[in-house]
Amino acid sequence: MVDTFQFTPKINLEFTIREKDFFLAGESASRVKKTLQQLGMEQEIIKRIAIIIYEAAMNVAIHASHGMLRVFISPEAITIETEDAGGGIPDVDLAMREGYSTATHEIREMGFGAGMGLPNIKQCADELKIDSKVGTGTLLQATVYFTNWQEKH
C-alpha cells in the first residue's frame, strides 16, 4: 500500500490484485475503511466506499486475471478505480443486471457469484463508469461525493 500525501489534502491508496488472490478485496476494503475512520469520515459513507472496493476488487480477482485497485481521496469525493487486464465484459448492460453472473461453482462456494456485485456498486456510488474492451480488460471508476448524496435521494 502506497500512501502519498500531496500539497492539497489528497491521499491515494494503491493495491495490486494478483491472479486468484481472492482475499485482497476484503482485506483492502477493511483497511481503507480503517483509514477513512481515522480521517473522521461519516460511517455510512465509509460503508458505501468499502462495499464498492470489496465488490470491484473481487470482480478483478474472479473475472479478470490481475489488475490494480486505486482509491483517490480528496476533500470533495472518493474515487475507487479498478483496472484489469482480463477478458473484458462483452455486454456491460447485461452484466449490470441483478442476478447475471458468469462465476464458476468454486466462486459460488465462497459466497460470491450471486450477480449482485455491479448492482451493489451502482447503488453505493454517485457516479459509475465502466469502460471495457473484450480481450483487453476493464476500467471501472466509481465516485462517492461527500455532499450531494442527500440531494440525490
Partner: protein, 119 residues
C-alpha cells in the same frame, strides 16, 4: 437479547470476542451470499451464516456487524479467527443449531429481521 444470552440460549461456543458479549442484539440477518450481506447490511446487526471463510469476517468488518454466528456446528479455521483477533474483535460464535432453528429461536425471543440502512 445480549450476545451472552444468545450464546447460552443456543448453547453456542465462543470462538473469540469474549469481552464483547454484552452487546445488545435487536436485529439479525441470515444468509450465505457475501454480496447479499453487503447489499442488505444495516449496522449493528447480528450475522447468521454457514459460510466460514475469511470473506465472512471481512464482510462483518465492512458492515459493522455486532457479531457472527456460524450455524450447523461449522467453525472457521484458526487463521480466519486470527484475522478477527488482530483487526476488529467482532465476537464469533458457533452453534450446533441449523440455520432454520437458529433463526426461529432468536425470532421467538424478539430478535427482528434487519432493516436495511438507506444507501
Amino acid at each position: 437479547m445480549t450476545l451472552r444470552e444468545i450464546q447460552t440460549y443456543l448453547g453456542a461456543e465462543i470462538l473469540c470476542g469474549e469481552g464483547q458479549l454484552d452487546r445488545e442484539v435487536r436485529e439479525a440477518f441470515a444468509c450465505d451470499l457475501i454480496s447479499e450481506m453487503l447489499a442488505s447490511a444495516s449496522s449493528h446487526m447480528l450475522l447468521i451464516t454457514s459460510l466460514t471463510n475469511a470473506h465472512v469476517i471481512h464482510t462483518a468488518e465492512v458492515i459493522d456487524a455486532l457479531g457472527v454466528i456460524f450455524v450447523g456446528g461449522r467453525r472457521p479455521a484458526e487463521d480466519v479467527i486470527e484475522i478477527v483477533k488482530k483487526n476488529s474483535s467482532i465476537p464469533l460464535l458457533t452453534t450446533k443449531c441449523q440455520m432454520f432453528d437458529c433463526c426461529g429461536l432468536l425470532f421467538a425471543r424478539g430478535v427482528q429481521a434487519n432493516r436495511k440502512d438507506p444507501l
